[in-house]
Symmetry: C2
Subunit: 160 residues, 2 copies
Amino acid sequence: MDETRSSCELSGEGTLTAGSSRVLRFQPGFRWEGVPATEYKQAADHWRGVTRVSLVGGGGEATRFHLRYFEIAPGGFSSYECHRHEHAVVVLRGAGQVRLGATDHAIGFGDTVYVAPNESHQFRNLSESEPLGFLCVVDAERDAPVPLSEKDQSERLCPH
Amino acid sequence: MDETRSSCELSGEGTLTAGSSRVLRFQPGFRWEGVPATEYKQAADHWRGVTRVSLVGGGGEATRFHLRYFEIAPGGFSSYECHRHEHAVVVLRGAGQVRLGATDHAIGFGDTVYVAPNESHQFRNLSESEPLGFLCVVDAERDAPVPLSEKDQSERLCPH
């Protein structure tokens, strides 16, 4: 598994107890009892205001997928990137926008995004007040995301 | 993939267009635009009142997981069963109960359930009015669920 920062992929998996069944309790503020949230409060070149919570996978489970919750702060955005692995995203909190190839789509609660292999994509929170939160499922084994160059960003295409 | 009816597994996958990125629009009533919901209105021996919506996977995507939304009608329940493959469940609608091995847990919005391999489990909607709806992620390749015998149900154990 690659650890490059990504829309749905930030370094370091969670530290849940593996091996036994469990119920992770939802808490106010969209966090889960006993589950660490990795905060990224500083802006970076490629992403800003992204928090990750690892819910299932990467902690010793045998699943061939990882289930994570991501949250993008007001005005924040994920890396604008490409990769071969697919994303399955379900919005739980707030609203925002996903850029998928040549098209921008508004997204809100329950909207479900499938990002196909090698489709350029970025999640953006256009709100000034409310976080944009979503579940994101990916294969446990996956390739490294590649941030789009400025030229590729203007053409909204993945590098060939 | 086995097609035996299960907590998180009912026969016949959805018919989404594969291969291209997409946004599946959430609609009132917890359905998704253009995505069929498979209704099971008749009671059966092992489950009652279960509806399934296939969101990602099983329609030509390359993901090693399937993402589905399940809904259990008021008074309904999923199969009380065992299998080797794991479940990752996030509650989106209503409230209910999950039996995990020897323990019953109340569940509501956002609560996240990990069902370990060979853990007996059943989801139950104790409400008289509101559906219990949850996302369920499983490996695309998985073993067949086995319903618990009456003896195993009383002991809440998977058969050895």
